[in-house]
Structures are given as C-alpha cells and as structure tokens.
C-alpha cells in the first residue's frame, strides 16, 4: 500500500507546486465611471440600478456611480465637462446638442417608443390629433416639438390650437378648460390616473413621430479613447435592462435604494408601464433604427428647432450595439 501513499504525496506536491507557480492572477484596477441621469431617481432608470445592484457592472470590472438629474441639472454639460462619463438624454436633445457643436453621441437607446403621449378624457370625443383643433393643450417646452410634429403630420397648423404651459392643474383638466395634456406614460400620467379619470391615450408613434426618449450617450472623445469601456458599460447596462424587463417587480423596487422617499408601489407600476416601451418584441433591447433617427432629425428641422441639418453619423453610433448583438 505504501506506493499508493507515495504516488498520492507526489501528486499532491506537484499540484501544490503547479498552483504556486501558476501565472499570477492579473488584477486590473476597477474602472470608476459616473452615469448622469436626465431626471430624478425613479424606475425610468431601473435597468441601470439593476446592472449596479446585480453586479453586472462589477462583472465588467466597472464601478458605476449613478447621479440623479432634475430640472436644475444640466446633465449634458456634466457629461461634456467630464464630470460624468455617460448620460441619459432624449435623441432629439442629442441632435440639438450636435447642431450647437456639442460633441456627444448616443450608443444605445432605452425607450424605443416615445413615452411622451397625449391624453384626453375617454368620453371627450378626442381620439386623435385632428380632434385637437380649437382646444387648449397642456405641454412643456420640451414636449412642444412632438406636439407640433404630430399636428403637422395631420395637417393642422399651430394657430388652430392653443398650448398651455405651467403647473399641471387637475382642476383645469376636470373642467375641460385644458382637455388635452402631454404626459409621460411612465410618469406624469399618474397624476390623472390617480385623480380617477378614464383616459384616451394618443401615441405620437401612431402619427409618424418616433422619438427616442432615453438614449445612453457619451462624448466623442471619451468613446474614441475608451471603446472597450463603453462596450462594457453598455453591455452591462443592457443586461440590467433585460433583467428589469423580466423582473418588473424587483426592478421597480430598486429605485428606492437610491432615493428612500420613493413609494415602491408607484415605482413598480411605473416599471411595468415602461416594459412595452423598452422591449417591443421587434429588436434587441437597446437597438436603434436609422429611420427613427432620420425621422427625429426631419421633425426637428421641420419644426425649426434646428436651423440646418446635422450629420446623423455623428449623433449616434451602432458600433457597440452591433458588437454586443451582432449585425441585425
């Protein structure tokens, strides 16, 4: 039996030596990255939270700090200044930024359908943009291009309807004084739903206006200098979004981790409302279509938001999505 013991010992020693002499584990330092959101913390950004909380970023050797935005936060400037490396912004905003010579571009989109919709009372008889004629429409300045584009599409000029801005006053909606509101399907629509109104939802997408509401963007320089980091960030973020789509309840409650005062129930509802906008069954999550970008560009030109056309190649890049998913 002794020879067995000897062999065992030899094997054990060999394995120890092999382990000890094996190549040293290469520890590359974790990349510190900051993501600047376009609005306050909420489920609108659940996929990013999921990527951070589920360790998807860590698996890509990233440590991502997520900063919330707000009405007073110039999130594009923060990315431009290098304070944050990535940001979330509407596709139209990126086109406008480019027209102003600001070098930022999208590498993927989260919302693939426009979450900004128009609502009216279900029994108001307002079923489409043609019914907007002569009415007061509540819309913020950032929502104005969408409204104008939809109306132009059905051949209605701006003098045929009135726009109202300022705070959202449910009373004005109830009294039919302002019967049409431009709202976020994932956010401000709740004000009216909670007030108990049955609503007609009018989608800009139904009238040829397709806006990417939340795209992931970075500066040209950053993308050119750190293509691998951008790829890893995008891959982990999209993985987070996929998880969020599959697990809306868990994903919805993540927002409270970033802002304790958020009501998790509302956040979950918001997350569930987001799913059809993020994941439509047509393309991979995050995928962008050229025709949509062209449409956005065209709309902004027609509405006079930008004075002359910009090179769309500079506004968004399919490089990373193609690497992640392969050519579609």
């Amino acid at each position: 039996m002794k020879w067995i013991a000897k062999i065992c010992t030899v094997m054990l020693m060999t394995s120890i030596i092999l382990v000890a002499c094996g190549p040293p584990a290469t520890e590359t330092p974790v990349d510190e990255v900051t993501l600047q959101l376009k609005w306050f913390h909420q489920s609108q950004f659940a996929g990013f939270y999921a990527a951070a909380q589920n360790g998807y970023y860590a698996e890509e050797n990233l440590n991502v700090t997520i900063l919330e935005g707000g009405s007073s936060v110039d999130f594009k400037e923060i990315v431009l200044s290098g304070e944050a490396q990535f940001g979330v912004a509407g596709g139209d905003e990126l086109i406008v930024a480019r027209s102003e010579g600001k070098p930022i571009q999208a590498v993927g989109t989260i919302y693939r359908r426009t979450p900004r919709v128009f609502v009216a009372k279900a029994d108001s008889g307002i079923n489409g943009p043609t019914d907007f004629v002569g009415q007061n429409i509540h819309v913020t300045s950032s929502g104005l291009p969408t409204l104008r584009a939809v109306m132009a599409r059905v051949g209605i000029s701006p003098d045929q309807y009135n726009t109202v801005s300022g705070p959202q006053d449910v009373e004005l909606f109830a009294s039919d004084e302002v019967p049409i509101w431009s709202v976020y399907l994932t956010g401000s629509i709740r004000v009216l739903e909670e007030a108990g109104f049955e609503l007609n939802i009018i989608y800009p997408d139904d009238y040829g206006v397709h806006f990417y509401a939340d795209t992931i963007f970075a500066t040209d320089d950053f993308i050119n200098e750190n293509p691998d980091l951008v790829l890893r960030f995008l891959r982990a973020s999209l993985r987070g979004w996929r998880w969020a789509v599959e697990n809306p309840v868990e994903a919805g409650s993540l927002a409270s981790e970033y802002k304790a005062e958020l009501d998790p129930l509302i956040q979950i509802t918001q997350m569930e409302a987001s799913i059809p906008l993020v994941h439509t069954g047509e393309d991979q999550i995050g995928w962008m279509r050229d025709d949509v970008w062209e449409g956005m560009h065209q709309t902004l030109l027609e509405q006079g938001v930008i004075k002359k056309s910009v090179e769309l190649d500079e506004v968004y890049s399919m490089e990373f999505l193609s690497t992640i998913y392969g050519e579609e």
Binding site: I275, G281, G295
Partner: protein, 997 residues
C-alpha cells in the same frame, strides 16, 4: 487482511463484476433506446406543430390575399386612397367596403381580430374595422413596408394599441395594371396559434412545446407558469443552440432548472425557435424500473456468494488458526503445548513437525536460566552506580574526593566551575590545601577529618584567578567495611551571595531604623494583625509617652476604640486584606484610649496615612502608620477659607472686572464680571492657568505685554485705554488698570466700548459737519464771486440806461430804471457781504500774536468820520495781546463799534470797549447806550442777513454780526449779547489763549 475475508472478497469480486457489467449494459441499452425513441417523438412533434403553425399562417394569409384581389375591394380602396375622406361619396364607399367586405371576413372566424387598409404612400390607416385605428400612421412598421411588396407575416410584438401580443399579416392591393394602391393588413388572433403550439400530445405529460423569438423571449406561454410570453427570456442549452440556427436534440436543464430531453428547430422563415421538451424523469421512468430490478438481483447474488465464501474459508482457515495459536503459546514460553491436528493433508504434516520442534526446545532452555539470573543482578548494580555518578556530576554543589594525603582524585563539574577552572585535569592530583585562601585552615580541616571523621564549616576559597569566595563545607572520611580509611570526600556550597544578602539586609535595617528614629513625622509599624511592633520618637512625642513599652506589643489598631467609634474599620480592612494604602483625617479623642495619655489635650485632629508592606507574594506582612497633628493647620485653613470667602464675595459682587495673574502673566483668578466678558458658557476653569498672551491674541503684537511686565518689575501702576479683539463681539475698548499684586499682576478692566463708540460717532459727525461747512463756504465763495461778474454787467448797463434815457422816456420809466439800479447795487452789496462771510473760513490767515490795542486804534481811525458824525464818545480799557488773525479781529471790532454807533438813540452814543482775563481766554466787551435789543432777537441778530430794522432806519445788509460770529468761532471763542432795550447793549466775545482749534 486475514485470509477469511480475503477469500470472501475474492468470491464477491468474481461473481459481481460480470453481473454488474451485464446489468449496466442492459440498463444502458434500455436507456439509449428510450432516448432515441423520445428524440424521434419530440422531433416529430416539432415538425408536426411547425407544419400546423405554418399552415395556420398560410390559411390566414390566403384569406387576406383573396380579399385583396377582390375587384370591388381594389376599386373601393383606390377610390378611398385617391379621394377626400370627407367627400360623401367616399364616405359611402367606406361604408360598403367595411360592411360588405371586411367585417364578413372577421365574422367567418378567419383568425383576424381586425382588418385595415393603409395608404400606400404614407402608411395612413384609411379604413379599419377597428375605428380607433383610423387616421393613424404605420409608415415605418415592417408589415407596412414589406406588405407593399408581397404578403408579409410580422412576428409577434407587443401592441401598445391593443395592450396585448399581436401578429400582423399584410398584403398589397394592386390595381389591374399592377400598380400599388394600398396595403391590406390585419392583426391575427394569437390565441389560435398558441393553442396549436401548446396543445398536449399526451395529456398529463410533462411534455410541452413553445416558441421563442430571436431575442430569447417566449412568444407563447409556458405550460408551467403564466405570463411568460414576451416577458421572460430563456437561455438553456437548447435555446442557445437553436438560436444559432441549429436543429438538434439533446439532454439539458430547461428554464425551470429541471433536466429534460428536448428537441428544437429553427424556423428560419418565422425567425423563431420551436422547442418541445419532456422531463427526463418521465421519459426515463421505464429505464429506472429496469435499473431497480438489476440492483435487486445484484444484491441477492452478492449475499449468496458471501455465504458460500464463509463456508469455504472456514474449512481452510480453522487448522491454520490452531497452528498460529500453538506458535504463540510456545513463543510465550509454554513449551508443553501441542497442536494435535488430525489431518492428512499438508497442514496435518506441518502440525506433526511443529509438535516435534516444541519438544526439542523444551530440553535446551532449562540450563540457560541460571546464567541469565546472575547477569541480571550485575546489570542492576551497574545501573545503580551509573545513577549515582550521574547525580554527582549534575549536582550544583561542588564535590571532591582526595586520597588520605589530601591530593584530589575526583572533582565533579560543579567544583571545576566554582573554582573557575576549565577542566578536571588541571586540578586532579593537586593538594586540596591549595584551594584555600589560608592554607593553615585547610591543614586544620584535614587533621580534624583524620581524627574525628567529619568536618562542617565555612572557609574562604581561592579561585584559579586568585579571587576569593565563601564556601560552606561538609567533609567526611570514607572508611571500608573494617573501618580503615580509604579516602576523603567533601561537598561545597558557594555562600558568597548569601553573605552579601545578609549584609545588605543588615544595612537596610540600619537605614530604616535611622529614618524612623530621626523622622520628624510620627510613624509606627504594626504586624499583620495590627499590633504595634515599632515606633519612632516623633510618635512617642505626639502620643505624649516616654517609653515604647506602653504601646509595643499591646496597642492593636483593630481594637482602637476611636477608630471603631468613627467607623474607620473598613479603611483598615482595605489596608490589611486588600493591600491598598489609605489616608483619612480623624478627630481623635485621646481620653477614650487607655494606653496613651497626652497632658492637656484630649482631642487632636490627625491626618492618618496607613500603607501596607507586602512580601514577595503580595501578602501584607506589616503596615506603616503615620500621623500628623493637623489641629492647628485646620484652624488656620478655616480662617483662611473664611477670609477668602469674603474676598470672593467682594470680587464677584463687584461690577468691575478683576483678574489676577502671576509673574509670567498666567491667569490665577478672575471674578464674575471678568468672566462675563467671555462668551457665555465659558467656565472659570477653562481660563485659569492660561497665559494672558493666549487669552488676548493681540497682546504680543502690541507693546502691552511689555507694559504689564514692566508693572510687575517696577511696581508702577498702569492705566491703559485699549482696543482689544474680543472673542465675543469683535473689537472692544477696554480701560485697563494694571497694578502689582504680590509678585504678580492685578488688573481691573472696564468696558468703555460704548463710550468709545459714542466718541467715535461724535468725531465722525464733527468731521462731517466740518466737511459740509467747508463745502458750503466753498460754494458761497464761488457763487458770490462768480455772481459779481454778470451783476456788474446788469448794474453797468442799468446805469448806462439811466444815464442816456433819463427824461427821454416817461416818468414811470425813470422810476423803474432807478429801482433796477438800486436793486442791482443792493445785490452787489449783498454779494460782497456774502463773499466776506465766506472768506472768513476759506481765506482766513493763521493766528499770530496780535496786539488788540493797536487793532482797535486802527478801527477808530477807520471809523473816525462816523464817530464825528454821530458825536460819539469811545473809551476803552487797556487791551491785551491775543493769538488771532489780525485782519479778522479788526473786522470784528469794526462791526461791533460800527453797530454801536449806528444804533444809537436820541442821546449821543457813548461806547466802551473792555477786556477781562478769564480762565484760559480773554473776554472782550463793547458796551453802548443805544436802542438795545429785545430778548427774542438776541440770537437772531447773529444769523446772516437778519435785520431787525429797515434799511431806511439803519443802513447795512445785516451780515456784520454773522461775520463776526464766524470769525470769533474760528478763533475758538464765543460771542453773545446782553441788553436792556432802550438803555443799551453789551456785546461780548472771547478769544482763547491757544488760538485756533
């Protein structure tokens, strides 16, 4: 391993290996065939379902295509696409199209939920069975884009409009010429498709079929969990391989984590995977049965083989066991043992040979035993000797043997070491006498040994290097059995250290005694029980006794009635049992203690300190008790405390802030008023001990530190008026009185911030006033100076007018011109006066010693004409020399005298100018006997251009007194008037000695 188990194991091995092999092959074959048949079944299910699914799509698409080819539909669609939607004719066509063609299709259960016709150019939904869709655009959706060319089936997507999963099928509508008019499209009912896919082939089976899209998401529902369609992604080996566009079968874990057999197929046209899976548990159920049967058979066979093995091995191992026992018995010494195995086989022969060998062995062994016994005895003695030698060698005492002459024959290592040698060869053979400091003593020892047989004592030994040490010796004469001396033996112990220790002890005892005897502090020492064992003279003195005997051995601390009465037993226990020192004050009543007697003092306040003396183990062996009579000190302290209390009360009720510093300016004490200067919450303790430089950060920057130190040095008090940065309110002004107190410094600080501020405000106001005055003067000067020029023009031309045209115009004109000329003249005078007034400040000269007598003389000369006219008498005292602006002083005299002459009554004016020496100034007076001034005007007359009388009555602009007032004020003096109306007035003014202020 023993032979028996080995045989049994061999049997099992031989029988079970083939059995196992056969079973495994049977099982594996069964499993494979089941696997294969399952694969076939699953694959064919997939093909079947795919076929059904495609057929369903084909059927649905065919319905749509047929509809798109109806001539009426083509015609209507063309009309609607081309026409205006509000046109009544178009409206009618829409209705017919919808009611006659589209709706009937839906009713036929064609699988469509709705049907729409889209404008070929814009993607606008022109008409739809679902009216809410009308007017919307689908220009970028694949079903529209693709549907323009040929029939297209769009994969399952989530429709926001329907809030459900949908499949879109579309087809183009061409006109007769083949050009595109519109696109016909419809939402297909997914329920039907799902049913086709999900329908179970074997009811109750775990087999399921589902579709996933190219993004890994479920398209149909799972059979196990609801709500998977388009909301759950799936990543199993099967789906991954399938999405790589492979068709295959395999064993893997499904999305639930359960092992399944699956078959998957990539449907290239639909870009979907169809997957059919069945749980391995279910599929392999029959193989498992086979497996169980095989195991049962295997176990049965094994048991039988074991039984057989036991019987066979017993028949072989039984005789061998007896042989082994025999060998053990003989080995253990039992040479009478015989095996007696009756067998004719090889084991039987071995047994006979064995028994014979045992017999022979028995005979040889008996004679050897005696020899062995002797050897054992010798060994024992040898061992004992070895032990003895080892003991001597390792002894720490030096041991030596000598022959009867005293020459060394043996020394142990301790000896060599003790005498400082290297090895025994240096000493063996030497006389023992050479190892002592004094040889004579050695001789004596050897003689004593020879005569008496032993010697015990101490000697001084001499080391190899000549140094000496003390040795205790025990030496013996060794004799043999008959009593004849053989040799001498001695053991040595080095007692140098012991001796030194004894001496040190004696010294320390002496030291302690001396300290105790000479100590002025009353001290006594108790034993561990608290009984006095020693006492010093100071103690005797305190207790008023002259001999130790009264106390030593008698007085017990624990039975001291005073200590007991005052409850100090606890303190004693602490000292004696816990070993902790204690100290307390005790008001000791000696009358209660019988052992001592202090003449005249029954009570003494004692400060008692008791501390324990411990041995090396920490056990208390003695206690030292010290007492100090603090009766007087206590009284003094109380008196001091009372006086200090009074001082404190005084200090703290004082409103002035007091503080006291030592010679280095560290704060020793401060009163409440001083503390209140610090931010609230500052405690006295925070400040005391700090240096003034630390408390007042600006101290070092200024020279105050040196000033204070100088006070301490010279004893000259110091008054300061300082701005000190304050921790609470910024800069503060303090008036500080510093004076020497003892060797340090006392300070009284008064907060004069308010006063300083008021002064500051006043100063600033004054400056403002001066500035505005200066500006006003400037203005008046500039204004009056510049006004003269145009006025001169007016006046000149007026006079020219008067000159040329007097009499040539009418009377009124002459009069008007005269008024104008007069007005211009008066204005000229006013301006001149104003100029003079303003010049008082701006053009005044510096003050010089001026003889006012001489000035007055000049004025009288100037006014000579006026005096004569009015028949006035002017007298004056001897006037002094003053510091003044000579010209301005002249002006004052001129004004006052002029007035005094001017405002006369009926009697001729009599005027007297006087001068009176006052404190620091001269008071001048100009007294007249004129009309006098009513009291209410006595102030007003000094205001510029204030006239009490009309110009006709008394000429002048009324600026003279105002100018005088300004001049006097410029000189730092005052001017006023006293008067009795009708009897006369006296104007006074003062000129201070210093001159201008």
């Amino acid at each position: 391993m023993r032979l028996g188990p080995k045989l049994i194991f061999l049997f099992i091995l031989i029988s079970l290996v083939p059995l196992g092999l056969v079973s495994f092959m049977a099982f594996d074959n069964g499993r494979r065939s089941i696997e294969q048949s399952t694969f076939h079944h699953l694959t064919s299910t997939n093909i079947l379902k795919e076929g059904e699914f495609n057929r369903w799509i084909e059927d649905t698409a065919r319905i749509l295509r047929a509809l798109a080819r109806r001539p009426l539909v083509i015609e209507y669609a063309a009309a609607i696409a081309a026409g205006e939607q509000t046109d009544p004719q178009v409206q009618a066509i829409r209705t017919s199209l919808c009611e006659d063609h589209l709706l009937p299709i839906l009713e036929e259960e064609s699988g469509f939920l709705d049907l729409s016709i889209l404008h070929a150019d814009s993607g606008l939904i022109l008409i739809s069975t679902d009216e809410t869709l009308e007017g919307k655009y689908r220009e970028h959706e694949p079903f529209f884009v693709e549907g323009k060319r040929s029939t297209f089936v769009q994969n399952v997507i989530y429709s926001l409009h329907h809030e459900a999963l949908m499949m879109q099928i579309s087809t183009p509508i061409f006109d007769k010429k083949g050009s595109l008019i519109a696109v016909l499209a419809g939402h297909a009912d997914l329920g039907e498709m799902s049913e086709i896919i999900q329908r179970k082939v074997v009811p109750g089976s775990s087999q399921e079929t589902y579709l996933i899209n190219e993004f890994n998401f479920f398209v149909t529902e799972s059979s196990f969990e609801p709500g998977y369609a388009l909301s759950k992604a799936i990543y199993t080996d099967g789906t991954n391989d399938c999405l790589a566009q492979n068709n295959d079968v395999g064993l893997y874990d499904d999305y639930r984590g359960i092992p399944v057999i699956g078959a998957y197929k990539w449907m290239a046209e639909r870009e979907m995977c169809i997957i059919t899976e069945i749980d391995q548990d279910e599929a392999f159920a029959s193989v498992l049965d086979l497996q169980r049967a095989t195991i049962r058979a295997g176990v049965g066979a094994a048991l039988m083989v074991v039984f057989l093995g036991i019987i066979v091995s017993r028949s072989i191992t039984g005789p061998i066991d007896r042989l082994v026992k025999g060998a053990e018995a003989i080995g253990g010494g039992n040479l009478d043992y015989r095996t007696n195995i009756e067998s004719r086989d090889e084991i039987g022969q071995l047994s006979v040979a064995f028994d014979r060998m045992a017999e022979n062995l028995h005979l040889v062994t008996a004679s050897r035993d005696e020899l062995d016994q002797e050897i054992i005895e010798r060994k024992k003695t040898e061992n004992e000797l070895r032990i003895m030698e080892s003991a001597i060698k390792s002894s720490i005492n030096a041991i030596a043997l000598t022959d009867l002459e005293g020459d060394l024959t043996y020394v142990n290592p301790a000896f060599i070491q003790m005498w400082g040698y290297e090895n025994e060869s240096e000493v063996i053979g030497s006389s023992i006498l050479t190892f002592w400091q004094e040889e004579a003593q050695g001789v004596e020892v050897v003689e004593t040994l020879s005569s008496q047989g032993s010697w015990i004592g101490e000697l001084i030994a001499k080391k190899k290097d000549g140094s000496s040490f003390d040795v205790q010796i025990s030496a013996n004469l060794v004799v043999d059995e008959e009593g004849t001396p053989i040799c001498m033996e001695a053991a040595f112990i080095d007692v140098t250290h012991r001796k030194q220790a004894e001496e040190a002890l004696a010294r320390s005892e002496n030291l302690l005694s001396n300290i105790l005897e000479q100590s002025p502090f009353s001290t006594w020492i108790s034993d561990a029980e608290g009984i006095a064992i020693r006492q010093n003279p100071a103690c005797r003195k305190l207790l008023g006794i002259d001999s130790d005997k009264q106390i030593i051995g008698k007085y017990n601390l624990f039975s001291d009635p005073e200590i007991k009465r005052q409850g100090r037993d606890e303190e004693l226990r602490k000292v004696f049992f816990e070993g902790k020192p204690t100290r307390f004050n005790i008001d000791y009543d000696f009358s209660l203690v019988d052992t001592v007697d202090i003449p005249g003092a029954t009570h003494k306040l004692l400060d008692m300190t008791i501390f324990p003396i411990k041995d090396s183990e920490g056990k208390v062996i003695n206690a030292v008790i010290q007492h100090e009579d603090i009766t007087e000190r206590k009284e003094m302290e109380e008196a001091l405390f009372r006086s200090e209390e009074r001082l404190n009360a005084f200090m703290n009720s004082a409103t002035e802030a007091f503080s006291i510093y030592d010679q280095e300016l560290n704060l020793i004490d401060l009163n409440k008023a001083e503390l209140s200067i610090w931010p609230s919450g500052t405690l006295k303790e925070d400040l005391i001990g700090k240096n003034l430089a630390e408390l007042d950060s600006s101290l070092k920057e200024t020279n105050r530190f040196d000033l204070y130190m100088n006070v301490i040095k010279t004893g000259t008090p110091l008054n300061l008026d300082e701005v000190i940065p304050h921790p609470k309110f910024g800069d503060f002004s303090f008036e500080v009185k510093a004076f020497k107190v003892g060797t340090g410094l006392g300070m009284i600080t008064t907060d004069i911030t308010d006063r300083k501020r008021a002064e500051e405000i006043l100063k600033r106001a004054l400056e403002d006033l001066e500035r505005s005055n200066t500006e006003l003067e400037q203005f008046a000067y500039v204004a009056s100076h510049d006004l003269q020029e145009p006025l001169r023009m007016v006046s000149s031309y007026m006079q020219l007018l008067e000159k040329r045209y007097r009499g040539s115009l009418d009377d009124d004109a002459d009069e008007f011109i005269a008024f104008a000329v007069d007005g211009a003249k008066r204005m000229q005078i006013l301006i001149n006066d104003l100029l003079a007034f303003s010049r008082v400040g701006s053009k005044g000269k510096s003050f010089d010693s001026t003889d006012s007598e001489w000035v007055l003389e000049r004025v009288l000369t100037n006014l000579g004409e006026l005096i004569k006219e009015n028949n006035a008498t002017v007298t004056h005292d001897r006037l002094p020399k003053v510091m003044a602006d000579e010209v301005q002083l002249e002006q004052v005299f001129q004004n006052l005298l002029g007035n005094a002459i001017k405002f006369h009554s009926e009697v001729p004016p009599e005027i007297h100018i006087g001068a009176e020496r006052m404190d620091g100034e001269w008071k001048f007076s100009v007294r007249d006997n004129g009309i006098g001034i009513e009291p209410e005007y006595r102030e007003k007359i000094f205001v510029i251009f204030k006239r009490l009388h009309s110009g006709e009555e008394y000429p002048g602009t009324g600026i003279g007194l105002a100018i005088s007032k300004r001049i006097i004020e410029r000189h730092g003096g005052r001017i006023w008037v006293e008067s009795i109306p009708g009897e006369g007035s006296t104007f006074f003014f003062t000129i201070p000695d210093g001159g201008e202020k």
